[in-house]
Amino acid sequence: MLEYILAGLALGSIYAIAAASITVTYVSTGILNFAFGSFAYFLARVYYWLHTDHSWNIVEAAVVTLLVIAPMMGAVLYALLLRHLRSRSALIQIVATIGLFVALPPLAAILFGNETINAAPGLAPEPVHVYHIFGKAVSMDQIIVYAFLVGIVVIGTGFLRFTDVGLRVRGLVSTRALASLSGINPSAISLSVWMISTALAGLTGVLAAPTNGLTTQGMTTLMAAAFAAVVAARLRSLPVAVIVALLMGVVTDVIQKYLPASGTLATALVPSVPFVVLALALLFFYLRFGSVQDVVAGGGALDAAIAPQGGGATQARKVQRAVRAKSNALLSFRSVGSLVVLGVVALLPVIMCGYWLTLVVAGFIYGLIFLSFTFALGEGGFLWLSLISFSGLGAIATAQLETVEGWPALPALLVGALIVTPIGILLGILTIRFGELYVALATLTFGLLVETLIFTQNRFLQQGVGVSVTRPGWTATDKSFAYFVLAIFLVVAIFLVNMRRSTTGLALGAARRSQAASTSVLGLNVVGLKVLISALATFVAALGGGLLAMYSGTALPTDFPTFTGLVWLAVLVTVGVRSIVAASIAGLAFTIVPGLFQTYLSGTWGNVPSVLFGLGAIGLAIDPDGSVTSMARRLEDLFSKIMSRRDADPDSRPERPEGSVSRGAGVTALAGAGRKGRS
């Protein structure tokens, strides 16, 4: 028993350091760091590079990584990105940190090499010495972890309690406005907090590497566990976060004692501990407070009073231009320009062949999957980080129906997607009263749960081969399959356009902008609308997953890790979340850009596209009003200049009004129902 507790405490300590770091960052800077896992991965990779690849000794490598590079990285990111984020909406904050999350690991691969590292040395000298306490084995690695947690708690508490700087941090957390009225410089404090928390992220990465492995997946799981503790602490309480994190670690290891070592139950239960903690915490808050809303970090009445409201005249001008652009925007389904683009896209399967054709077909399928984001984020305004899991489930369901049950391909595909839909509806209902931050956290954890719980079942995994899926007979060639996919894409797209232009579309637009007015003025059934959107998004994601499996010939659950889902999100927001054409372009970009890099550039340069996708999402945060920050934006400009039948109007570029991703790139025809003709 004791040895399980000791091992659990080690795991819990790592969680605790991560949770403490995330909590402190959130309360003092107002940003929940969704890139924490990537910070940990990147810095652990730096340490590995110095220590293992370049044979630096442990102390030197650790000091340089954690006390020099990590704070510098925190400072640079603060200066370039994070300081812009505070005044942005929660959605933009989440998407931008996810962009960072997506960009850092491939950057590490470019800088330090592509190798997969499943176990990396920690801070203890190799071979790791094992001590015996009360007859139980404790490794040096574990002792180091305990020591760091104790050290951080003692030093951190002492610093916050007894020093003047600590007092200032606490003042800032208490109310930011009053702190600055007392002569405290909030930027200086935020900068230091980011430097320290980046160092702590690096520390958790280095400490976790020996057990979790030096992989993005390992670090994502670590981050999700820490998030569970942070949520249990209602994003505020440092002691609660640390204690819950420790308990989670202990529980994780202790249940292993009572479960058969290699049983499916153990493999199922162990990774679900964070999810259970998160779910219980959310349930508790829900029952206690009736809803789970984002608590504004460091909030008093005064902070609320001076919070920026909209963009005033500048914003008004932008909205005006956006609407003028509506009529001739490229990324609007109605406009001639977008029809031309769709036409060109439709010709691609004829023009391309071989390798490039396969990329085009895959691109079409991704375009369809990205439409599920267009439904969820673009229409519903909620940020689901688990849509990829629905794609994976769709693939699995299609494969089971077709290959195991012997159904024909098409019904298997449709029914497979229908089977998955209720899960999405359930998730939608469960998260309906959550704030944006909690929706993102809950769906992220849900995705990881599906990944570890369901995707690992051998029934679906088949020793890593997956269950085979065959296409409908009449789509045997890639070209015919391409048009099959395109047809499905168009049906979904037309459905989407019709929905947008119908009363429901207006109602959704209304509910997205002001819930208060939707319910208390119009008496709209917002819950029903949100459930509808959940169902549609899930169905489309699952359908795309099924098609992807059909195309590759096998439903392999490991093709759908939650991390990749974040890359998808980054790609789509880079191009535009409200537009149908943007979804198709994003799908093609997602397959063809890496294809170009792999074909024409060698080796590690293949990681560049992922970095670019991440940067695209980050760019949204720095400049949501769209002074061209991404490749796709430039393309869009170029096209609208060429395609637009009207006179070139420098203002005609679709705008990204501030404040919400849902109104992001590519303003689409709002298609006023009952709109009168305009001159």
Binding site: R170, G171, S174, S180, L181, I184, L302, A313
Partner: protein, 258 residues
Amino acid sequence: MTTATVGKHVEQGPEPTGEPLLRVEGLTVRYGLATALRDLDLVLYPGVALAVLGVNGAGKSTLARVLSGLVPATAGKISFDGQDITGWSAHRIRKAGLVYLPEGRGVFPSLTVTENLRLAAGVLRNRSDRVAAVGRALDIFPSLKARSGNQAAMLSGGEQQMLSLARALTTSPKLIIADEMSLGLAPKMVDVVFETLETMKQNGATIILIEQFANRALSFAEQCALLQRGHLSWHGDSKAATNEVIAGYLGDSVATGV
């Protein structure tokens, strides 16, 4: 277009001393779409107390917030103590000697009374000065001293307001902007608030007193500025203000004439 100079009345008033402490020219503030202050001009000389009156939403608090750097000015210029402070951040303006006591309770609720005062004294360079400043502030308010280890959130409304004042007293600011200090306080506490402000005034501080309830403010301040929909609709000597205030609050304006 409202153009007014409160300071010019100082010519008849007590001791106008050379340079103005605060000079505001063409100040406009927009919150989102609403314009909270429009083209406001104001001059305030050292040692003069100014009452800023107006109904809720007239722009009083916005004036205080823009002067203290909490919200940016959309247009216009603010000079304080000989420096152009337009666009300065709040902490820099505080260090320049302008203290804003915000509406509601201007204290850190989760910190103790002593910690609140330590933070306020943080602008002083010397550690010994800081310790002395905290001690001095506690001496002025014995009831705070008795509760110095308590969290500010645990104090009564009146005590929190005292703490807010004590925070201003730790240093010797040049200009104090007190925003609705008497709101929701028992009459006895209101007396304490005004006595303290009086003491600050005697010690040479210039005070801008923002109030919705006019009478007490008018008897305290020499000068009065009346805000209406973000305009400076009247300004002048407090003694002459009562009629104007009543007209501004209850009297005829836009709607009655129609």
